[in-house]
C-alpha cells in the first residue's frame, strides 16, 4: 500500500531536513561569541568539554537510532500483509532466550561506557581545583536582575558581567559563587558553560575560562516569576587592557556633577534611594540595582532595552513599557522631573 511507502519516505525526508537545518545554520558552529548562544559553539573549557562529550553521546545514540529505526523500517516493509484476502496466520514465535539475552547485555555494556565517560567529566568540571590567578565573583540573583560583586576588587556591578580573557598559557579563570536574594534563578551563558541554579540559603559554584574576547549572551534558566523571560545576561570577556580599564572605572565613586543637582534632588526625594545605591550619596538602597555606573552599561533592566537617554527616560516613567510586571514601580513623575532625573542619571558613568 502506498501509505506505508510514504511513511518511510516521509521519515527519511524529515530526518534529512532536520539535519540540513542543523548543519546549514552557520550560527551553530561559530568561533567566538555570537548573538545566538549555541551550546555547540563553546568558548570556554567547561563548555568545550561538554561539547566534546555531547558529540560522543550523539555518536552512540545516533548509532542506536539508525540501527533500531532501520530494523523497524525493514520490518514494516518486509512483513506487511500482502493481499487483502490472506487470512493465514504466520508462525507464532513466543520468545528466544539467546536473542533476549543478547539485547539485554549489549545495552548494559553501552550504559557502562556512557556512565564512566560521564562520571569522569562530572568530576573534571565540578571538582576542578581553583588556581591562584582565578578571579572571584559573587553572583546574587534577584527578581529580575543580576548583581555581580567582586569582593577582592571592591566592585558591585549589575547585569553585565566583565571577566578577563583566559588562555592556556596565561590562565585567568573566573570562579563564580552563586546565591539568591529571593527565589530560584539559574545562570546560563551557553557558550561559556552549563548552567547552575541560584538558590536562597544554598551556595553554588561555577567556573569559566573564556578563550575568545567579546560579548556572550545568556539568560536566567529557572522560571522565577513574571519577568523571568527578560532576566538576560551579558558577559563581556575583556582583554587585559579592557578589563583593567573597566575595573578602574567601576572602582570610582559616583560622578558628582553640579549641573544636574536638580535631578539628583528628584532622585533623592522621590523614593528612588530607597531601592537604589549611588556611592558617595545618601542613596544606599539595596533592593534594586546599584546605579553608580549606570551609563557604563549597554542595556537597561537586565537587557530589556538598550541604554539610550530616550529609553532611560521611558523606563523611569513607566517600567511596564519594557518589562511589564517588573518590581520597579512607576513613580508618577512629572515631565519636568523626568527630564531632570534622566539628566542626572545620564551623568553616572
Amino acid at each position: 500500500m502506498l501509505a506505508k511507502c510514504f511513511r518511510c519516505v516521509n521519515c527519511a525526508a524529515r530526518s534529512l531536513c532536520v539535519l540540513a537545518v542543523f548543519l546549514a545554520s552557520h550560527t551553530l558552529f561559530a568561533e567566538g561569541p555570537s548573538s545566538t548562544p549555541s551550546i555547540f559553539a563553546p568558548a570556554s573549557t567547561p563548555a568545550s568539554s561538554i561539547y566534546e562529550l555531547s558529540l560522543f553521546v550523539l555518536a552512540i545514540t545516533g548509532g542506536i537510532f539508525v540501527t533500531v529505526a532501520g530494523l523497524i523500517a525493514y520490518v514494516i516493509f518486509r512483513f506487511r500483509q500482502r493481499g487483502q484476502d490472506d487470512v493465514s496466520e504466520p508462525a507464532q514465535i513466543y520468545g528466544s532466550t539467546q536473542v533476549e539475552l543478547a539485547w539485554t547485555v549489549i545495552p548494559v555494556l553501552i550504559v557502562v561506557v556512557l556512565f564512566l565517560t560521564t562520571a569522569r567529566m562530572i568530576f573534571a568540571i565540578q571538582d576542578a581545583p581553583k588556581p591562584k590567578s582565578a578571579l572571584d565573583v559573587t553572583v546574587v540573583g534577584h527578581q529580575f536582575w543580576w548583581e555581580f560583586n567582586y569582593p577582592k576588587l571592591g566592585i558591585r556591578a549589575v547585569n553585565e558581567l566583565h571577566v578577563p580573557l583566559s588562555s592556556p598559557q596565561d590562565p585567568k579563570p573566573t570562579f563564580l559563587t552563586l546565591l539568591s536574594a529571593d527565589v530560584m534563578h539559574s545562570f546560563w551563558v551557553p557558550q561559556l558553560s552549563g548552567k547552575i541554579d541560584l538558590i536562597p540559603n544554598h551556595v553554588n559554584n561555577l567556573w569559566i575560562d573564556p578563550q575568545h574576547p567579546g560579548l556572550y549572551v545568556g539568560q536566567c534558566g529557572q522560571f522565577c516569576g513574571v519577568q523571568h523571560a527578560k532576566m538576560l545576561l551579558r558577559v563581556y570577556v575583556d582583554t587585559p587592557e579592557q578589563f583593567a580599564a573597566w575595573v578602574k572605572n567601576q572602582q570610582q565613586q559616583a560622578v558628582s556633577d553640579d549641573r544636574v543637582a536638580e535631578g539628583r534632588h528628584v532622585f533623592e526625594t522621590q523614593a528612588c534611594m530607597n531601592c537604589h545605591t549611588v556611592t558617595g550619596t545618601a542613596a544606599t538602597g539595596r533592593f534594586g540595582p546599584d546605579l553608580t555606573h549606570l551609563m557604563s552599561r549597554d542595556t537597561l533592566a537586565s537587557g530589556a532595552t538598550t541604554n539610550t537617554p530616550e529609553n532611560l527616560r521611558e523606563w523611569t516613567r513607566n517600567p511596564d513599557t519594557y518589562k511589564p510586571g517588573s518590581l520597579m514601580p512607576a513613580m508618577q513623575l512629572s515631565d519636568q522631573q523626568l527630564d531632570q532625573v534622566t539628566a542626572y542619571l545620564a551623568t553616572l558613568r
Binding site: 500500500m1 501509505a3 516521509n10 521519515c11 524529515r14 532536520v18 550560527t27 551553530l28 545566538t36 548562544p37 551550546i39 555547540f40 568539554s49 561538554i50 562529550l53 555531547s54 553521546v57 545514540t61 542506536i64 537510532f65 533500531v68 530494523l71 523497524i72 512483513f79 506487511r80 500483509q81 493465514s88 504466520p90 514465535i93 513466543y94 520468545g95 536473542v99 533476549e100 539485554t104 545495552p107 550504559v111 556512557l114 556512565f115 560521564t118 562520571a119 562530572i122 530560584m184 546560563w188 552549563g194 548552567k195 547552575i196 536562597p200 540559603n201 544554598h202 553554588n204 549572551v217 539568560q219 536566567c220 534558566g221 529557572q222 522560571f223 523571560a229 538576560l232 511589564p324 510586571g325
Partner: protein
Amino acid sequence: MADSTYPMPGSLAEAPRQRWSQAAILEWLHSWVTTVDHKKLGILYMLYSIFFLLVGGVEAILIRIQLMQPNLHFISPQVFNRLFTMHGTTMVFLVGMTYIFGFANYLIPLMIGARDMAFPRLNALSFWLTFFGGLLLYYSFIGGGGLYGQGNAPDVGWWAYAPLTSRAFTPGHSTDYWALSLIVTGFGTIGASVNVVATALCMRCKGMTLMRLPLFVWLNVVTSALALITITPLTAAQIMLLIDRYLGGHFFDTQAGGSAVVWAHFFWIFGHPEVYVLVLPAFAIANEVIPVFSRKAIFGYPAMAAASVAIAFVSLGVWAHHMFTIGMTSVGNAFFVLSTMLVGIPTGIKIFNWVATMWGGKIRFATPMLFCTGFLVQFLLAGLTGIMLSVAPWDWQLHNSYFVIAHFHYVLVGGIVFCIFAGIYYWYPKVTGRLLNETLGKWHFWLFVIGFHITFDLMHIPGLLGMPRSIYTYEANRGWGTLNMIISIGGLIQAVAVLVFAVNLVWSYFKGKEAGNDPWDAWTLEWAAASPPPAYNFATDPVVTSRRPLWDLKHPEDPDWKYE
C-alpha cells in the same frame, strides 16, 4: 443489539427502544451520574480525558501563537505564565491520569473475565473526586479577585518550585488552587489504583494465573502499584506548602532555615515515577495492538512483564536527574546519571520485543497499527534524547531549555498520545458497537504525525541554541524566530488532526460500520463479549488455559497452551 454471549434460559430479551421524552433523558443522565458500572465509568474517564486534551491543546496553541515571533504582544506575561502552568498541570493530571483509568476500568474486568471491578462504588467515588478536582483547578480562572482582578489560575509552573510559591512571592490564591485541586484528584487516583490492583489480583476467572494475564492488565497493575507509591509524596509536599502558606510553617522558608531544594526533591520523587505512571499504560495498549495487527503472539511475554516491574522499581531512584543543576555533589550527580541510564535498559528491551513481535508477522496497517508504529519510532527517539539528558554535564546545558520540552513532548505526545489514539481506534468498536471511520482515521494519523514531527523534531534545535523554557518572549537577534514560527505551524496542523479525530468520534457513533464482537480477529477475552458488552459482561464465567483464549478457540489444532 441482541446479547450474543452464551444464551441462558430466562435471559433478558432485548429491551424495547426508548422514546426520547424528557423523563427518559433525565433518567439517562441520572444513570450516568450514579453509575458504578466499570464500563460507564471507563467511558466517563475517557470523555473527561479527551475534553481536557482539547482544553490543554487550546492552551498550547495560544502559547505557540505568542511565541511565533520575538516580542509579540498577543498575550501578556502574566497570562502566558498561567497558560503554560495550566497546560502542564492539565495534561499531566487531567488527561494523563484519567486516560489510564479510562482504559483500565473499561477493559480489565472484561480481560480477566470478571463482572466488574473489585470495588464498584470506590470506582465511582474515585472518578468524581478526579472530576471535581479538575473543576476546582479550572475554577481558578474565574474565582477570586486576586491582585489584578483577573482570576487566580496557577502561574508558577506545573512544578511549582519554592520559594516562588510562598505568599511573599506569589500573592493571591493561584498556588492554593494548584495544591488543593491536585490533592483532591490525588485521592481519586489512589482509590482507582487500589481498585485496579485488587481487581487484577483477586477477581480473575478460572485458569487465569498471573502469567496468563494479558500484558495490558500486567502493565496497568504495575502502573497502579507505582501510582500508590508516587502520588502521596506530591500530596505530602503540597500539604507542607499549604502549611507554609497558611499556618506559618517553614518547610520551604529559606529565611528560617528551610530549604527550597527539599521542595524540588519531594516534587521530583513524585514527578519522575509519575511519568512512568503515564507511559506504562501506553505500553499496555501497544502490547495489545501490536501483536493483533502483526498476527503474532507478543515476543517474550515473561521478559515484558519482568521489564515493566523493573522499570517501576528503578524509576523510584532516578528523580534527581531533574535537578542536575541544583548543585548536588559530583557523587550525587554521578549516582543519578547511572540510575537514569539503567532505567533505559528495560525500556529499550521493550522496544526490541515489539519489533521482534512484528518480525515474521503479517502486519495489517489499520489505523490502530499506524499509530502504534509511529509510537515505536517516536518512543525510540524520545528514549535516546532521554539518554542524552541523563549525561549530567550535557544536561547542565540542556536543562530547562527547549530541548527538554522537545524530549518530554516526544514521550508524552509521540509516545502516549499516539498510543491513546491507537487504543481508541482499537477498542471503540467494543465500546460502541461501531468501527471508527478508516478514511478519517488515516487523515487523522497523517496530519497528526506530520504536524507532530514539524513541531517536535525542530523544537530540539532552539534548545541547542540556548533558548530556555517558560519564557513569554525572546530577543529578536538570538536566531530563534524562524524555528519558533515553523514549530507553531506544526502545532496548528496537529490541532486540525485532532479536530478530524473529534469529528470521527461523533460521526462514527451514529454512522460507523457495525463491528460485531471481534472486528480485529483478536485473542483476549474482551472480544468474546458482545459489542457493547451487556451490563454483566459474560453470561457464564469464562475458563482459560492460555494467554490467548480466543486464539485457542480459533485454532484448536494449535493452541497456545502447548507452547507456554
